[in-house]
Amino acid sequence: MSELFSQYNYVIVIILMMTGLYTVFASRNLIKKLAGLSVFQTSVFLLYITIGKVSGGQPPILVEGGASYGTDVDGHALLEGTIQVAAGGGSYILPGPGSDVLYSNPLPHVLILTAIVVGVATLSIGLALTVRIREVYHTIEEDEIEEKDFIYNLEGTAD
């Protein structure tokens, strides 16, 4: 049980994902389906980002440590894990022994960053299809569309 407590983020994110999936499955309105799909999608983003979180970490934007960055209480230099930058003379502080800086994992951030923008592009394709369906069928309710298709196949005319 204590194990599940340290993983509470996954449990709640799975509940959110399943809520979005339920909206996609259960609703018949195409726009509501797309809203549910986007909730599902955002929840998947949350899952990825929580995996990359490092407790005590900070955003993966390297901290510049100049010469004045200082020493710890015992007088040891804190800059062992740093790397000198060529021209400016400044340096970035990297995580490691002797460094008190910790960054979260940047890899999930990169993957999700592009996925968000691609998500809105695919959402707009879905919305465009919905608009065209509405113009031909005069409804965006799935069962009414199927009914019109059925009548059309039976009698050769709709309405």
Binding site: A86, V120, V131
Partner: protein, 154 residues
């Protein structure tokens, strides 16, 4: 959308118009800050593109689609969409011709890290162009599909 030339007392959206006119240039400026400061802080081509598109969309929402199409003509969209992708791919091909692999920016300048800086700048510019124009194109496509919404509809 009511006529922008209405007199002060009859225009219900005068506050919205004034504030939007003040905000839209700032939003566009912020987009470019996000674009060119993306190496140092949070930001980059994707975010800047969406923010720049949002400024045009806000203009269209407040002043009407016709005015927005005069400010950002639809003909620009066709060129912008393709130019962004070509700029991205072209950077890759250029690094190819300069002796590196596709999209290996290290060969673009004498110093490898300077080459990386130039490459990232060019590529982010391509992303900015494509994302901005595609977002505006999608908004124009949906917005032009309907007669403009009157105040009574809301």
């Amino acid at each position: 959308m009511s006529d922008p030339t209405q007199t002060f007392g009859r225009d219900p959206h005068v506050l919205l118009r004034v504030i939007a006119k003040f905000l839209i240039p700032l939003i566009a400026l912020f987009a470019f800050y996000v674009q060119f400061h993306g190496d140092y802080g949070p930001g980059g081509g994707f975010q800047a593109g969406v923010i720049l598109a949002a400024s045009v969309i806000l203009y269209a929402l407040v002043f009407g689609l016709k005015a927005a199409k005069r400010a950002f003509p639809p003909s620009l969209i066709r060129y912008g969409m393709t130019l962004g992708v070509l700029l991205y791919g072209g950077t890759g091909v250029l690094s190819w011709f300069m002796g590196g692999e596709f999209l290996n920016y290290s060969v673009l300048a004498h110093d490898a890290s300077h080459g990386q800086h130039y490459g990232i700048l060019a590529v982010e510019l391509g992303v900015l162009t494509t994302v901005t124009t595609v977002m505006i194109a999608i908004f124009y496509a949906f917005g032009s599909r309907q007669p403009e919404t009157s105040d009574e509809d809301w």
